[in-house]
């Protein structure tokens, strides 16, 4: 195994995870602050995933929370997709296919989530 090539993938994954967690944490902080300051209704139960996807870009506290949580859940999926890309790019097809299989399985999870 070429460790130099693998280090490039390590960096890619490091920045993907860091960006996802940091951005979602900022959105969650902003969402909570806006909800508390404006005293808007607190969401008790999340709407179905399909509804969140439609309303995610509405800029109010509740939707910022939804967006932050959604981004947090997308982060590991993005990490696996980056691995598919990274492994394919350096020609490690076996691991690219394994990563792709995980993406497919997560897609089934997403479908089950949307189904509710």
């Amino acid at each position: 195994m070429d460790t130099d090539k693998e280090r490039q993938i390590d960096h890619l994954i490091h920045y993907t995870l860091l960006a996802g967690v940091s951005t979602s944490a900022i959105l969650l902080i902003l969402g909570l602050l806006i909800i508390l300051v404006r005293d808007t209704p607190r969401p008790e139960v999340a709407p179905p995933l399909s509804e969140i996807l439609r309303q995610a870009f509405m800029a109010n506290g509740v939707d910022l929370l939804y967006l932050g949580l959604l981004l947090l859940m997308i982060t590991p999926i993005a990490r696996v997709m980056m691995l598919v890309y990274g492994y394919a790019r350096i020609g490690w097809w076996r691991f690219a296919l394994i990563s792709l299989l995980v993406v497919v399985l997560l897609g089934i999870g997403l479908a089950l989530g949307i189904e509710g």
Partner: protein
């Protein structure tokens, strides 16, 4: 639970304590978070599990980001085993939807008992006793061929590069399936099952086994979190507050853990978990 400043403070504090404990004890915070939410805040167990599983994504992603950069997490092994954990997590999350609150509490209490025993056992072993694996010795040098899944990393504590091959992937795959199932069912990371198997049977050094397990947990958790989200069991304000507390606590815990005796804390919490387990059984109606 309606989120007020008062509730926000206590949830943040609880999340922080759970994050600190998880980092010090080297296990996922979910195992503490679910009982805390159920027993202290009286949150229904399905919602507590959903909150926990989303917070597990946050801590795993944050820690994995560092471990990947350090080269500690074996991503090739992690991706291979993730196929099993994801399948297990999805089946676990679907099963949880069919189980009653009492049944879930009983299963959780039993798993908590296993964790308490493991913590007690680990605390009785010295660091030197816990690490060696004579069947699959770690290679000091870096040979040309470590196999498809082998890897190497620099260990600053030992001041040298550690290389290893991976043996017996099938037991690791089965352990990952079980760990994934428990993760989806109970909202825990499942590292307490995966790490010993990856270390002792697959022959991966302890630090790499822990980092690889943590690397896998984020994807495992998201597989079931999507299902909990779809069922409307993730309460956004509650979950967001807990996540922020756990993230802050994990950061503090990673700093504090370097100055504490891990074995002493493990022993204390093995004992501390016993009344929590009792309360979980009482809550389940036993």
């Amino acid at each position: 639970m309606y989120l007020t400043i008062h509730n926000l403070f206590w949830l943040l504090l609880t999340g922080s304590i759970v994050g600190v404990l998880g980092a010090i004890l080297g296990i996922g915070g979910g195992i503490f978070l679910v009982p805390a939410l159920v027993l202290i805040f009286h949150i229904p167990v399905h919602h507590a599990i959903a909150t926990s599983i989303v917070s597990v994504i946050a801590t795993s992603s944050a820690v994995a980001s560092t471990n990947v950069e350090k080269g500690l997490a074996n991503m090739r092994l992690g991706m291979t085993l993730e196929v099993a954990t994801v399948l297990g997590a999805m089946s676990g999350a679907l099963t949880a939807g069919w189980l009653s609150e009492a049944t879930l509490l009983q299963i959780f209490a039993v798993v908590l008992l296993v964790v308490a025993v493991l913590l007690g056992w680990k605390s009785s072993k010295s660091e030197r006793e816990a690490i060696p694996n004579p069947q699959h010795p770690v290679l000091d040098d870096q040979p040309d061929d470590l196999g498809l899944l082998g890897a190497s990393f620099y260990d600053p504590a030992e001041g040298r590069q550690i290389s290893y091959r991976v043996w017996k992937v099938l037991p690791g795959f089965l352990a990952s399936l079980i760990a994934g199932n428990l993760s989806g069912l109970l909202g825990v990371g499942g590292g307490f099952i995966k790490v010993p198997v990856i270390h002792l049977i697959c022959g991966v050094p302890m630090k790499a086994a822990t980092a690889t397990s943590n690397f896998m947990i984020g994807v495992t958790a998201v597989a079931s979190a999507l299902i909990y989200f779809g069922r409307g069991e993730v309460r956004p304000a509650l979950t967001a507050t807990v996540i922020l507390g756990v993230l802050a606590g994990s950061f503090i815990g990673s700093v504090v853990s370097q100055r504490l005796s891990g074995r002493l804390v493990q022993a204390i919490f093995a004992v501390f978990l016993l009344p929590v387990i009792w309360q979980m059984f009482v809550r389940a109606g036993l």
